[in-house]
């Protein structure tokens, strides 16, 4: 199992960004954060992240649109969707548009880490 290193978190909840990025850093990930899709795209285009964690409810553009943009730039980049409330439609729509996985907040760190690793390795499979 290969371990991704660079994680990009896109979420408008400041608390979540801070706490999660700290915790992931303690697990030896390098983490960058962005509160809006627009702030995240430069990182994506530059090719920095190995995995993106995306909240589906973003203020500037909705999560689905952000997902679409990311996939357009980097079709192979795995994106894990995150949401504070579950909508079956939203999650299935996200998966259909290429998200690797779907998680519900709050999420345990162990579970998130495993999802990141799995998403990273599955993406490798799809590419290969």
């Amino acid at each position: 199992m290969e371990r991704p290193h660079n994680i990009l978190l896109i979420d408008d909840e400041e608390d979540f960004l801070q706490t999660t990025s700290r915790r992931l850093q303690r697990r030896n990930f390098e983490v960058r954060t962005a509160p809006r899709c627009a702030d995240a795209m430069p990182e994506v285009i530059a090719g920095w992240p190995h995995v993106v964690v995306l909240d589906v409810m973003l203020p500037d553009t909705d999560g689905m649109e952000c997902l679409r943009r990311i996939k357009q730039e980097k079709p192979q980049l795995p994106v894990v969707m995150l949401t504070g409330h579950a909508s079956m439609q939203a999650s299935l729509q996200g998966l259909e548009r290429g998200a690797s996985d779907y998680c519900l907040k709050p999420i345990e760190l162990d579970e998130l880490v495993e999802k990141l690793i799995i998403a990273y390795n599955d993406a490798g499979a799809r590419a290969g």
């Binding site: 909508s87 079956m88 439609q89 999650s91 495993e114 290969g128």
Partner: protein, 862 residues
């Protein structure tokens, strides 16, 4: 046109067997899809168990949990479908449609909105009867019934319907804003609960009433006005409230003495009270979503009360009692239910004698009620009980002219405990003196815990967190006055002690509903009990002891009542699960094993798993790849033939792949080797001697059913296969007349580490086969499997455990596969069964020794 068609008719890749590189990478890609499918399968099955367990457990759960679990489930099944379609080069595309249909239906169920009936925004009291509860709420409907059908005095007034409330909330767009805020709320965080609750209530209070509603209210108030002035009470009358499922006692506000111009704002405040902290928590505990509670309200002319109070047509804990219970206090008596006023307590016998027993007086030597009034009140209480068919909790008032009015009536939520002579005996045998004695049993029961005193709102915020998933709370709430505000803590406490108040309070009602023992009116309790002190409360016997009194606590086995049963959230989950968990597809060989037969998500997972295995199995075959097709395991001394298919990297690098045989030494599949070790650990001793009866049943069975086991894939019929890779193994076994399937995956990730086991069949009759799976089930549970038995079929799973834990279990599974077969032929001889069980247990014990764990060498053939 051609381009369009080619999307649907992608030709099967014909790989050149002479191009090993292309073959290998194609295989690798297939294998990766296979692993994705397996992981998603594992997650989906686990989530199904979780959802099913929730339905049957006693712990309350909210809509958020339901949606979260089911959405994650759907996401995993989605991934399985896509993995299968990829793995099978585009076959089974019909699954997409089936999946869409089923998840669409689930979504419809989950977003079910209760229907708001009727069109009228306001109904006058004269027009209302019991059957209008779905428009005006039970409270007003019952009052209308009492006034118009029974003919008792109920103040004149009108009801504002749920339709009106909906209109109000929608016209002002308030509901959307509220939903947004509620979605983010964690109700266990009391501080944010109160903040959000406060915000929402403000929103409602400041929202404008639509003009049509405002003028309807004005019109009806005009009709009530006598001699120019009008004072009304404005009360909640929520739909769903005061029903058999929950009293919602004290959850919403009441406004008294409201003048005409103030009615609209009082009404808005009543609507706002739906979002009080304790109401939000109560709904969560009782399994109601916010949209399930529709707010109606009632306006009634104020009674100029001389005396008022509460009457129970029977005591709350004794539905057979011959007494009517009356609480009375000067004025409206509203303070009685809020627990803040002293009162007269009277019992009146239900027979024609109507004996009166005075149990307490608010003012010594001065009864609030005259004898005639007491008897009239008792008569009316019994009349109302008779009309509605169950004991009633009644609010009443007598005005300055001596007229008795009924202000509210609702069914009493009974919380009855069984008589228990042992418990009574235990009570009498306690030698230590109680710390406190006396008071009133507000809710029966016994509990022990640590004292936590609450005197103000701040104390609520500092209250200990709710206990974890399966833990019982060990905090005891101690208060001076049993205000309904404390109800927000009911799910965090094991008992309640209050210095004042009695059984007719809202807090007592909620305590009874939640099955929490409560002792009220216990003098000096607040001053004498200390925070953190451990005490035992025997609410029934009205005593509080220092420390834990184990002799009493052994009698608290009575479970807390299942509050969720029958509630809207519970019902939604149950309905949604009918589209998820039932399994219709069972026989892979059947012509009905196809996408269009999938009716549930479980059917889809079963289909995908099965077909994925078939695809992987056939891959080597189909492409003529020698190294990917089945090889026979060369081994001597085992009672069967074993075939092996390498899915990826299950063979040693330097293994001779041209041979039709493979040696165990050449296999590097960790899970497979564990199973093999178990299989070869104890020498096979042949089947046990069969009794004549047993043999007879086998012969009869075989004659009836030539294809003894429809669960076996026909392509693999008659053979035992290991499909393996370095970290994965899938073994299907047909030994004798049994079919078993063992699947295991090892990974550094817990998500991908699991063991599954399925077992079915046997040649003996139904009864014996069932007995065998029961025994097998017990053995497996004993080593940590989660077991599910249906008839003569068994499934067992272990998920998300470290590899070392799984290794040990796989060894034992391997052993069981070989050694339990055909035992059921002798199932009806208990002695023989017992002997075999002992042997099995002993062997399993041997297999568990640490020294065996250490050595990971291959099992040597006997």
């Amino acid at each position: 046109m051609l381009g369009f068609l080619s999307r649907f008719f992608r030709p099967r890749q014909c790989l050149d067997p002479k191009d090993p590189e292309a073959l290998r990478s194609a295989f690798r890609e297939h294998y990766r899809h296979f692993r994705v499918l397996l992981t998603a399968n594992n997650n989906a099955l686990e989530l199904m168990s979780v959802a099913d367990e929730r339905l049957h457990a006693d712990k309350p759960f909210g809509m958020g949990v339901v949606r979260g679990t089911l959405t994650a489930l759907a996401a995993n099944v989605y991934k399985m479908v896509h993995a299968l379609v990829a793995l099978s080069d585009g076959r089974y595309k019909d699954l997409h449609e089936r999946f869409r249909i089923i998840t669409g239906q689930i979504e419809v169920i989950l977003s079910h909105q209760p229907e708001v009936k009727g069109t009228a925004m306001i109904l006058a009291m004269d027009e209302i009867g019991r059957h209008d509860a779905d428009q005006v709420g039970a409270k007003m409907a019952n009052l209308g019934e009492i006034r118009n059908r029974i003919g008792l005095n109920v103040p004149d007034g009108f009801a504002i319907t749920a339709v009106a409330a909906k209109h109000f909330m929608e016209a002002s767009h308030t509901q959307d804003e509220i939903n947004r805020r509620l979605k983010m709320l964690d109700i266990d965080d009391l501080e944010s609960l109160y903040l959000v609750s406060g915000d929402i209530q403000d929103l409602i209070r400041h929202a404008p009433l639509p003009d049509d509603l405002a003028s309807a209210i004005a019109t009806h108030s005009q009709r009530l006005t006598r001699e120019g002035s009008l004072r009304v009470s404005v009360r909640s009358s929520a739909l769903g409230e005061d029903g058999a499922l929950g009293s919602f006692a004290g959850q919403y506000r009441t406004h008294l003495g409201v003048g005409t111009t103030a009615i609209p704002s009082a009404y808005k405040d009543i609507i706002a009270s739906k979002y009080q902290g304790q109401a939000i928590v109560y709904r969560q505990q009782m399994g109601y979503r916010h949209q399930d509670v529709l707010m109606g309200a009632g306006c009634m002319v104020m009674v100029d009360a001389a005396v008022g109070g509460v009457a129970y047509s029977r005591p709350p804990d004794d539905p057979q009692s011959p007494w009517v219970v009356i609480h009375a206090a000067p004025g409206l008596g509203h303070q009685i239910v809020d627990g803040s006023a002293p009162y007269d307590l009277l019992h009146v016998s239900r027979d024609s004698e109507q004996d009166i027993v005075t149990l307490g007086l608010a003012q010594p030597d001065r009864s609030c009620l005259a004898t005639g009034q007491i008897r009239e009140l008792a008569r009316q209480a019994m009349q109302i009980e008779a009309h509605f068919g169950s004991p009633q909790d009644i609010e009443w008032a007598i005005d300055t002219e001596g007229r008795l009015f009924i202000l509210q009536a609702r069914p009493i939520v009974q919380a009855v405990t069984q008589p228990n002579p042992e418990r009574d005996q235990a009570r009498m045998s306690i030698t230590r003196p109680p710390l406190l004695e006396g008071g009133i049993t507000a809710s029966r029961g016994i509990a022990a815990g640590r004292v936590h005193k609450v005197g103000c709102l701040l104390d609520i915020l500092n209250f200990p967190e709710p206990a974890g998933e399966n833990a019982v709370p060990d905090t005891i709430l101690v208060v001076e006055t049993p205000f309904p505000d404390w109800a927000v803590l009911m799910d965090r406490v094991c008992a309640v002690v209050s210095e004042s108040g009695q059984a007719a309070t809202h807090l007592a009602t909620v305590a009874r509903e939640f099955g929490v023992p409560a002792l009220f009116d216990l003098s000096d309790a607040f001053t004498r009990l200390e925070n953190g002190q451990t005490i035992t409360v025997d609410a029934t016997a009205r005593r509080v002891y220092e420390g834990r009194v184990e002799e009493l606590l052994q009698f608290t086995e009575e479970k807390r009542p299942s509050l969720m049963e029958g509630s809207p959230v519970h019902t939604l989950l149950k309905e949604a699960l009918t589209l998820i968990t039932p399994l219709h597809l069972t026989a892979p060989d059947s012509p009905f094993f196809k996408p269009s037969s999938c009716r549930t998500l479980h059917d889809i997972t079963r289909f995908c798993h099965e077909k994925a295995l078939t695809e992987m199995f056939n891959f080597g075959h189909r492409h003529g790849a020698r190294d990917r097709s089945a090889k026979q395991l060369s081994v001597i001394g085992m009672p069967a033939q074993w075939w092996v298919i390498n899915l990826d990297d299950g063979y040693r690098e330097d293994a001779d792949l041209s041979s039709p045989f493979i040696r165990i030494e050449d296999i590097v599949s960790a899970p497979m080797l564990c199973i093999w070790r178990g299989m070869t650990a104890v020498p096979w001793q042949g089947p046990p001697p069969v009794s004549m009866r047993g043999l007879g049943s086998i012969i009869a069975q075989s004659a009836m059913n030539p294809q003894l086991d429809p669960a076996v894939r026909s392509s693999m019929a008659g053979r035992n296969y290991f499909l393996l890779s370095k970290n994965y193994c899938n073994l299907s076994v047909r030994l004798g007349y049994h079919f078993a399937l063992a699947e295991a995956s090892f990974s550094e990730l817990l998500t991908e580490s699991y063991v599954n086991f399925q077992f079915k069949g046997g040649a003996a009759d139904e009864r014996r086969r069932q007995r065998r799976v029961n025994i097998l089930g017990d053995l497996l549970r004993g080593i940590g499997f989660r077991v599910d038995i249906k008839g003569d079929s068994l499934t067992a799973r272990i998920e998300k455990r470290p590899v070392s834990y799984l290794e040990e279990r796989l060894v034992i599974l391997g052993y069981l596969l070989i050694h339990t077969r055909q035992v059921d032929m002798v199932m009806d001889e208990d002695a023989v069964v017992a002997r075999y069980l002992d042997k099995l247990q002993a062997d399993i014990q041997k297999l568990r020794t640490p020294s065996m764990e250490k050595e990971m060498t291959h099992g040597t053939p006997p």
